[in-house]
Point group: C2
Chain length 246, copies 2
Amino acid sequence: MTSTRYLDIAEKLAVEIAGSAPGTRVSSEPELAARFGVGRAAARSALQELERRLLVRRVRGAGTFVNRRIDYVISHSRPPSWHATVEAAGATPRSQIKSVDRLPLPAGRAAHLDRPAGALMHRVVRTFYIDDLPASWIEEWIPVEVAPDLDLALHSVESIDLVLRQMGRVAPVRAWCRASVDLPPPEVLRGLGIEASVPVWLVDSVSRDARTGQVLMASSAWTRADAVRVVVELSDTVYPEEKTCG
Amino acid sequence: MTSTRYLDIAEKLAVEIAGSAPGTRVSSEPELAARFGVGRAAARSALQELERRLLVRRVRGAGTFVNRRIDYVISHSRPPSWHATVEAAGATPRSQIKSVDRLPLPAGRAAHLDRPAGALMHRVVRTFYIDDLPASWIEEWIPVEVAPDLDLALHSVESIDLVLRQMGRVAPVRAWCRASVDLPPPEVLRGLGIEASVPVWLVDSVSRDARTGQVLMASSAWTRADAVRVVVELSDTVYPEEKTCG
DNA sequence: GAGCATTTGTCCGTATGTATT
DNA sequence: CAATACATACGGACAAATGCT
């Protein structure tokens, strides 16, 4: 005997919720315990297994709900847009500026920003939401000379991209990026409303001006893997025949 | 009072094991329960928290051990090599061919392989190990005309890359790839020795001949996130000034 | 190979804390 | 405030895998 009844229950529930809309309520632990004739511990384990599979989201005091997971594709061929991506998935996007500071560039950032450590930078921290749930925490570093009054402008305009285009007269494009799954620092954990450890994406990016190639921004985005399925795509290489210019 | 003693214990242990070598034994559940004056449940929760953080690996009947996690960088600038990557991290790599078949190309694969569905292909399934632990499960599809006797050659030579270079007279390079974190099918879960759900990378790749651009191979690699930290790097864009030819 | 102690995995019942509704 | 639901924790029990004798 395998004596893993909680996995059997999880399997049954996984099939049942496969056809349910995101946000649908899942039976509570006591309900499942009664239905399957097990203790609350086994029912709880089954729901936790579904949570590990990113199929449900559990909220203390509220219940267990079918999870929504959004695809976010990173590639050179498509410009990054949180709002467009979330809306395309049928959910409601929202972003909020947590802080805007002027700080000297930390040494760890200098390599990506083409500027010496200590140079004066704007540091913007934002949180991105899906259906009012914090899903992504982003820290962005922008040289002050690119847009000297960025901090003031962000009081009226929310989009950094827009401000840079208008005030900085530049066209930011994602030039480089590195994605992985990591353990976030405590500040980020709090910002994302995470208590125990769940997988979180870390995407480091550098934006350049499309015309001059000047570095405009370096950012680190921490994104909950249970809310967003990040997909990184390396574009197809050009064949040698097409690469040679002459 | 926040009665989360297990998180306090986990934090203490995390600091303690931070300086330990991979493979070092961690105290057992009963030992921790006695040491911190808690029940076995709390001690167990603490170790499970460390497991979620990918800091330890737990084996039933054996114990809890400090985990080793290897960086695997995917980018256009570096050729993929499991053995080199694992050895660079100070661990022992190993690979094993699970099966070699001749099968018609499934419809889902046709798009990446530049061949019609139903075309005859080699299908090679391999498992990659780190220190004798299964870490990666790879399915590779190669058109038979690229290397007609691939299946026979693999009896004596382990490396597909080598066989293609010698028999197929081609130079395979990674042309395209897409990486994310997903739920593996049951066959893969068994192959990786996974019971409950843990995060697993899925990396789909296409290799082409460096000279002709011909598609040589399409593969899907499932890799345990607790064993390998996959890092996908999008190379920096070329500036417009450099891109224009002539 | 058989037997044994150790260790983790599963499960029970019960109780209390805490957040949500 | 009350009811609900999840989070934590206790003690106890047995199963299953491992490693050693």
